[in-house]
């Protein structure tokens, strides 16, 4: 063979090596402080719990069993763990409801902002970005103030004479849902806005000119073009909801725990590190399933529009 292909390949290899060197610091940091620790979590999930937290280096599948089952102390029979199943179902259910709630409020809001004249659009967008950049804990405290026993709603209802004594709204599923929908709402508005802004309204007008009904136009012209934004917004809300820790902790307390809080308990008072590790992997897998579903939805769509 001639020399030319070789030198070209050498140059390519040299370029690739140089690029790897450039990326090395970032890659090393993430390998050491994220990927390696996650591998340790996988390992810990198949060990035996130690007496005071930590683990003993004895192989055991008990941690994984305990994710869904509990063993009777007396006769060793297995039964489904109601407590864990409730928390698992609550995590998925509340995350889906949070996504639905942010869709109901977020999509019209994004539509509204995108259809303003440019100057007004910048103003409304600014109003969405402020809560987006505000500390999540601060925003959770703000919602808490609304529904506390002595909070805004209860005092308002008492003053109006609608109720005789405060309604207990905190530490319920409702409180967690309200808190999560409030803190994650901007995550829905921004991607949907980006999609609607790109929408060419002449397409919808063309639909009208051809006597399409409003609903038909919405369904057949607008929705397909805005769909990527809606899907992106849904995943941006669903994924952090599923792994939420701070908001359910403040709004739900010990009564309405989510998966994140259950995991934390295993490394605190509960002290069952292998179970905590197995739960962590379960949560991560749920998130990965959602992400894979998301990529398949979006890449499938692109395939169709090109075809």
């Amino acid at each position: 063979m001639g020399e030319a292909p070789n030198t070209e390949r050498d140059a390519q290899n040299a370029d690739a090596r140089q690029r790897w060197r450039l990326a090395l610091p970032a890659v090393t940091i993430i390998m050491v402080f994220s990927i390696l620790p996650l591998i340790v979590v996988v390992l810990y999930s198949v060990l035996t719990p130690g007496d005071y937290g930590n683990v003993r280096w004895v192989f055991s599948t008990e941690g994984w069993f305990s994710v869904l089952f509990e063993r009777d102390i007396f006769d060793d029979t297995l039964s489904l763990s109601d407590a864990h199943l409730t928390i698992l179902a609550r995590s998925v259910g509340l995350s889906l409801l949070t996504t639905a709630l942010t869709l109901i409020f977020g999509v019209p809001t994004a539509w509204f902002i995108a259809t303003r004249p440019p100057a007004a659009r910048a103003f409304w967008l600014f109003l969405v970005t402020i809560p987006f950049w505000t500390n999540l804990l601060v925003r959770t405290i703000a919602v808490q103030e609304m529904i506390r026993s002595e909070g805004v709603f209860n005092r308002l209802f008492l003053w109006l004479g609608l109720i005789d004594q405060p309604i207990q709204m905190m530490f319920t599923n409702f409180a967690v849902l309200l808190g999560m929908a409030y803190v994650f709402l901007p995550l829905m508005v921004l991607p949907v806005f980006a999609a609607v802004e790109k929408f060419d309204f002449r397409l919808a007008e063309a639909g009208y000119d051809l006597y399409a009904s409003r609903l038909f136009c919405l369904r057949k012209v607008i929705l397909p073009l805005v769909r990527p934004g809606i899907i992106a917004g849904s995943i941006l809300v669903f994924v952090p909801s599923l792994g939420a820790y701070v908001t359910p902790r403040i709004m739900g307390g010990g009564k309405s725990m989510m998966l994140g809080n259950l995991i934390e308990m295993q490394f605190g008072q509960g002290r069952n590190w292998p179970l905590g590790a197995a739960l962590s992997i379960t949560l991560t897998l749920l998130v990965l399933i959602a992400l894979i579903y998301y990529t398949r939805l979006t890449s499938g769509r692109q395939g169709r529009s090109h075809g």
Binding site: A26, L36, V41, F112, T129, T134, I141, I250
Partner: protein, 267 residues
């Protein structure tokens, strides 16, 4: 005909829902700030307007120490994350596909794909042992953890900027016999600067916002602003919490307004 006057941009009910959405977003925050001016100690019992709790917060040693830790931590983590993310973005853009390109991209984004609580637990397992073995209880653990989850946030805008950049200016510089380093410093870097700035700010805010990582990995006595606030929330609900929250809110408003002004000037 009524149907002809109908404007597609104004779907029925949209404006109502949107305005409702803004009201819902802002009422809790307005009430929070309002409560911070309450003269009384017990929240919810209005005793007149006063700056008392802001003064109290600014004289509170624990709060000031936490603020200092938070700013130092966010600055260092964002700085390291931005530098390494810029290098990684330069490595993964503007080239023919090379072996491992996808792998680098995936690794750099990996912290985004795992829930924060899981990452915090994973790091706790390892770093607790390092802490025990070395006896070091400084800020290093938090800097490492924050840098890790800040890298993908810094990487996103920098990479986006690089992908949108015109290669011809750099080619022109090279044609004029500029060295690779000179070209990078005088052509690439200035063009990339807005992306780097956006990446730094995003990383800075994400670090400042973090509760979970810091709460799990901090050494005894160490507090960041959010963990201090979380602790106060657990211990005693006084109006000072609202003053501190309002100060944090003010920081976000300043950052958003600042970046808004910066991008507007350029446009």
């Amino acid at each position: 005909m009524a149907e002809r006057a109908f404007n597609i941009r104004r779907l029925p009910g949209v404006a109502t829902l949107a305005i409702g959405c803004f009201v819902i977003l802002y009422i809790p925050m307005v009430i929070l700030v309002g409560n911070s001016f309450n003269a009384g100690k017990v929240i919810g019992h209005w005793e007149g307007v006063s700056l008392h709790w802001y003064v109290a917060a600014l004289h509170n040693e624990a709060f000031l120490a936490a603020a200092q830790t938070s700013l130092l931590l966010a600055t260092l983590a964002a700085l390291i994350a931005t530098i390494t993310a810029t290098m990684a973005a330069l490595a993964t853009t503007r080239a023919a596909d090379f072996r491992g390109q996808g792998a680098i991209h995936l690794i750099v984004n990996q912290p985004l794909m795992v829930p924060e609580i899981v990452l915090a637990i994973a790091l706790l397992i390892i770093l607790a042992q390092v802490k025990q073995a070395t006896g070091y209880t400084g800020l290093g653990y938090l800097i490492a953890a924050h840098t890790t989850f800040c890298i993908p946030f810094a990487y996103m805008p920098i990479r986006a900027r690089l992908e949108g950049m015109d290669l011809s200016l750099e080619t022109a510089a090279a044609d004029l016999y500029a060295s690779r380093f000179y070209t990078f410093r005088r052509v690439t870097l200035p063009l990339l600067a807005p992306g780097i700035l956006a990446g730094f700010m995003l990383a800075f805010v994400v670090s400042l916002d973090d509760v979970v990582m810091s709460d799990f990995l901090k050494s005894p006595g160490q507090e960041t602003l959010p963990t201090y606030l979380m602790g106060e929330l657990r211990r005693n609900l006084t109006s000072e919490i609202y003053a501190i929250s309002s100060l944090l809110l003010l920081i976000s408003v300043l950052i958003v307004a600042g970046s808004w002004a910066a991008t507007r000037k350029k446009a």
